[in-house]
Symmetry: C2
DNA sequence: GATACCACTATACCAAGGTATATAGATAAA
DNA sequence: TTTATCTATATACCTTGGTATAGTGGTATC
């Protein structure tokens, strides 16, 4: 059903539930469809694990022994860990569902649920994870390029993409025109921008205008 | 509580519910906090109304007499009518809630709910409506500028922001260099772009690269 | 037929961008 | 000490962008 494609790494489904029976049944369900599962009994146990750099999602019980799944989800989001989350719960209600979905959960399943519903949710979550991974790897590459610039080159890039002429940049930085041109040329090479339009779009992705 | 600010038009809250008692109680609740309400008993009645160009949201009953609120919401989204929607229902369950939230609803309230919860949801919805309105008015202005360009000028703009040199544009369009320069100059004036970087960002907003 | 708009071209000129070569001071690492 | 990197500058040269002026031809509107 789920084939291992060349180039795309094997996805991982994390399961965080304090009930051993649930952990077992879920992980065996996942294995039966060829998905790799990784189970955790507590928030602390999960936090001690470093997440693999593959498309992954988290199946999260709302009511954990020592924690609230919703709060933990919000904490993950606040920490910038963008892991698609699927909630499962035995004691759900509508306000809880709304809260979970507002926080960005992919799905919210009340027990008992159909296995297929969970598998569908996982498929969607992993798809989102792949997209985010692809997007972040692009912007990672961009950030690396930008970080490889010297301070001056970064300054010149910011000012250039904001629309300033070389002459204006030179005035504001108290430099000669030729110096600005050279910084600009080096910057374009390091950023691997084939033309100025491309550079402007890179700056947009890096949100250089805002910061 | 909700003051009429100068410059910001009076928001409208649409109410679509087939129960007259609900319509009455909701609209009097809204009026009591100074909000303008506009009530509808059926989907057809709502569709016959042209929406005002002010921040607005829709309070939508899930179970209507001749229609499904969730489906109607999806239809609105599909038609590009981006009106923040708050669902209310007397017979809700978790899957229904998930479906509504996935479609982009602002909130989902099961009766009986606290009045304050609804008012909070409305405040959030109207805030979103304002943001969308502001964003769309900006891109409307941009689209008007772009539409005011002649065909040639649009072509030249697309090619310029994709990074092509005037010479390359001239070759591809079988024009002389000077003709391209003139189209480009006229285009910059009409787009009110102060520099090329700004033009690239305008093109991004118009998503000229995709289409 | 006059007017307006669009598209296209040419000449001429100036401003701006970009590169190569060469030089030089400052600083930090091997 | 040598090496490397960053910073800054100058001269020279070429390409590209942009504008003004002037003119041609087509099309549509009044």
């Amino acid at each position: 059903m789920i084939k291992s494609m060349p180039g795309v790494k094997q996805p991982i489904v994390y399961i965080l539930d304090d009930d051993p029976a649930v952990r077992d049944s879920l992980s065996s369900l996942l294995r039966s469809v060829g998905l790799q599962a990784s189970v955790f009994a507590s928030v602390t146990e999960f936090q001690q694990t470093s997440l693999a750099a593959v498309p992954s999602c988290l199946i999260l019980d709302v009511r954990l022994q020592f924690a609230n799944g919703l709060d933990f989800h919000r904490q993950l989001v606040a920490e910038g860990i963008d892991l698609p989350v699927i909630f499962i719960t035995g004691h759900g209600d509508i306000p809880m569902t709304v809260k979970a979905m507002k926080s960005g959960a992919v799905d919210f399943l009340a027990k008992p649920f159909r296995e297929q519903d969970l598998l569908d949710a996982i498929a969607l979550a992993l798809q989102k994870a792949e997209q985010r991974l692809a997007a972040s790897s692009v912007s990672d590459a961009l950030r690396n390029c930008f970080a490889s610039l010297t301070n001056r080159e970064q300054q010149v890039m910011r000012m250039a993409v904001s629309g300033l002429l070389n002459k204006q940049i030179a005035d504001q930085l108290n430099l000669s025109l030729i110096t600005v041109k050279i910084h600009r040329g080096n910057m374009m090479k390091k950023m691997q921008a084939r033309n100025f339009a491309e550079l402007v779009r890179m700056a947009e992705q890096l949100s250089l205008n805002k910061a």
